[in-house]
Amino acid sequence: MQKTPRYLKPGDTIGITCPAGYMAAEKAQTCIDTLHQWGYTTKVGKTLGGSSENYFSGTDEERLDELQQMMDDNDLQAILFGRGGYGLGRIIDQINFRKFVKKPKWLIGFSDITILHAHIYSNHNIATIHSPMAAAFNDGGSENKYVLSLKDVLEGKKICYQCNSHDLNKRGEAIGELVGGNLTLLAHIVGASSDIKTKGRILFLEDTGEYLYNIDRMLFQLKRSKKLNKLAGLIIGGFTDMKDTERRFGKTVYEIIHDIVKDADYPVCFDFPVSHEQQNYALKIGAVYKLDVRKDCVTLEE
């Protein structure tokens, strides 16, 4: 049975840590201010704007220690990751989930954080939140409906998202637990202990900055490892900043994906607002949703 952490109420505390790439403290300031406006207090870890001079926000030990402390801290009701980048996979096998499992809290983030979402879903069956992180609050972002959707999810409001239809959509209705995230990370964990089961679930995928041939190869991996054949439904989010080789691939990224699942018997929707761009609704991984792909619009409802 899926465990859902307690939803937040005013006065609750959200921890902020960077388990992967480096982030300057000022880039998270608007996020912190906004969380305060939402009625929460924050506890900011040292990995945000730390003294690291390389790619990471701190050494593996520093990032792990801070994440572990926050996961174990009974005074925190949620942890929002400052940013993704790369690095959670380096420490994930050293995280001790014992206290967290007894007293789960919301873990919030996407991109590199996909590995943690998947790991917790597969091994501990606790819901987590795939959503914008600190940088998304900047430049007016804290007012947009995607960042605000995180507030609703944290407060426990039942969400219902709608988006436009797409020519490649396959109509239908599906009900299932929602799993997914960044395609590169989901392909990367196939065969490892963080790998997700997809049978009967609604899978969502997004990615950024990849070569088209590599997207194709990763989808073939999901297909060949039988992750795509018994889905309840498939949600394709944004695949932004795609790169192509000198000899062009000859298909758009959505055509590539469509070709691989065109014979599927489940509903598929494209261009759903989950992505590395502003369009990135907060989604609860592990929660049961209904996906309704219709002629004129797509609805995802908890």
Partner: protein
Amino acid sequence: MIASFPFGWKEINTQAKSSDELQTIIPKYLIPGDIIGITSPAGNITLEEIRPAIQQMESWGLTINVGDSIGKRNFTFGGTDEERAEDFQKMLDNPSIRAVMCARGGYGFVRIVDQLNFDKFLKSPKWIIGFSDLTVLHSHLSNYGIASIHSKMCNSFPDDRSNAEPIQVETIFSIWKALTGDKMRYFARHNKKNRLGTAKGELIGGNLKTIESLAGSKSDLRTAGKLLFVEDTGEYLYSIDRMFWNLKRTGKLAQLNGLIIGGFKIKPDDPGEEFALSLYDIVLEKVKEYHYPVCFDFPVGHQKNNFALKCGIKHQVSVEQGLTTLKEL
């Protein structure tokens, strides 16, 4: 040794308890007069571009069978999936063709591998030659227990043989030596990051990114008791780090007998995104709790010194102070 095909090999395969008990099937080595096929199961290539390879292989006394996919083009591919699969299938099934050289890599073999029928090939195995994207094929064939050759392909044969650099001549000639049954023996200069030791095992491996992309599929690489070699090109250090975590977290490093690191052409970090670890750090931290030998800078990869390696065949690697030797047993 030329192994004959044992009856009922599939049963032998599935009942084997460890890779040690598995007898890899070695296709018949070539002799002058044999026919070699050329096909392009991944990226596209023109007949003009494979001319140097044809001339070189003819000089070895081989007859060349140029497949229909050569000169075909469907965007980046050497024809549509159907065309490439059909050409490759013909090469697999034609009993007069004793070896098949893939003309180039690129991307695309994984798109057709599940459409191929290996029944005839398994009854009468032949040498398949290639690398990079064709790592899919080597891994797939090793799960069938058939040896194959990881080497340069048609697109790497020098245009003008008389003016070719010695290393080009030598690496291309290593393909012919491998095909005709020479026992392979290679050396790598000492690297002070090497972990010394001697180990034996079947040689397997290839392109690291491609190996990662096979995880969970039936072509997934099985590494227990083997000597694993990996190489890659054009990847960021962070991505290489993630790929080695993939090897580790999918259990591919724990039971190795030896690890051979070939060439890694690293994509420079973007300014301000400098990665904390070197390639050496990345590799050595993943294998620190294991005790097998590790060597760096082995002459295999997307580079001039890319020698022919027989996948699936037992080798011995001796990583010693001063010199690394890899020899076929």
